[in-house]
Symmetry: C2
Subunit: 232 residues, 2 copies
Amino acid sequence: MAGIDRSLVRALPLFEKLSDLEIDRMLARATLRRVLPGEAVFEQGQKATQFFLLLHGRLKVTQVTADGQQIIVRMVHPGDIFGFAKALQREDYPGTPTAAAESVVICWPTEVWGMFVEQNPHLAVNAMQSIGQRLQEAHTRIREMATEEVERRVAHAVLRLIDQAGKKEATGIRIDFPISRQDIAEMTGTTLHTVSRILSAWEAKGLVKGGRQKLLVRDAAGLQILAEGLTS
Amino acid sequence: MAGIDRSLVRALPLFEKLSDLEIDRMLARATLRRVLPGEAVFEQGQKATQFFLLLHGRLKVTQVTADGQQIIVRMVHPGDIFGFAKALQREDYPGTPTAAAESVVICWPTEVWGMFVEQNPHLAVNAMQSIGQRLQEAHTRIREMATEEVERRVAHAVLRLIDQAGKKEATGIRIDFPISRQDIAEMTGTTLHTVSRILSAWEAKGLVKGGRQKLLVRDAAGLQILAEGLTS
DNA sequence: CGCGAGTTTGAGGCTGTTCAAAGAGGGTGG
DNA sequence: CCACCCTCTTTGAACAGCCTCAAACTCGCG
């Protein structure tokens, strides 16, 4: 409700090439919302009435299959748009975004998207590139799941995580939000047991340091080699 | 070179809400190209100088991994745009589209995309929806690969094929282009051996009728049940 | 008619799952 | 402040689905 400061979003790719005036016009239609860890922004299957931008924090988007199995479709990082069912020609949300850490999201009613785009083609181009990038990531994941063994898939997933949410520490790079073995399993299409075994083995080799919902990568280069499949 | 008739593309989703004049302006910059079966429109890794629309025929887009394994990323059906690296923020093509049947494609130089979009926001919206749909399909495939056993994945793949390229015949629905066991394996992340075994079993049950690079679905409903995983 | 690409089928082994149970970390309430 | 409990994690053992390796078969084209 209260005005959202333009400086919060000015630098985001989505708003590239937009004038301050145009950004302000968009923000005038937006609301801010805080999401606590474990809380969902919306639920899979709900009618899509809003779309969102993650300002701060971290979300994991899950899908539940008919038989109750859950997978993590993707992580949402600050600056990403999500809940963008409009672009997918859908009436309902295909997944559930849950806060992994405390988060702040900007919300717009879906109706305003058409208006915004009419007024500024750049916005559509920027959004398309964002979705295009996600499509590429999805294809990468498909290729990995089709061709790679579990250990390499997990290595790739962890490398992606430190790339997108890595925080340098004295002894390595930490993943900057709480993440469980179960989460990693759901990102790679395996079980928490297998992930646990793999991480234990890596810890023995000095590649990582585990912990309850924590992961510290000691040797990213070593992981990279594993991911490439150049190992024994 | 020679003018491409507007009527060929008028009805396509990509051109929805565009005026005849705008379409003609786009076609003025386009060239037509015929692609013979087995021939590639472009090669993975090449610099992206053009983007394309499939007018007629059928393409399979493959990616080759560093260690030489191949997967089929997706099939391109008439009306689809492809080679759209611009949207993905890429300089090079991420895959290789090969003609499964004789095909005709429309080609545009990548530079003109920006111009077209400036002149007509609808085009960007339409393209985004096309990419959004592909993103959804990719997520579906990821979910299937993560949670389903091979037989169900193959069932889903075949159902998708008859949906996108099915041709009614007296005894069932035929897949309208040459497709090998190897192809189906590369679409589902398995081996041609496993696919062959599964299709043989299905044929014994009367669900399908196989053949060299041919597949006829006799009982789509039965396949659907298999795909849903409601079976024994 | 012969050759080659595509397909079928068998046997064996390995990766990763499933089932089971015990072990830690951290937050909470007494 | 400590003890308890819940959740997450670790680890073992057995099993199974699928892959790998191998070989025969057949369709259709030249």
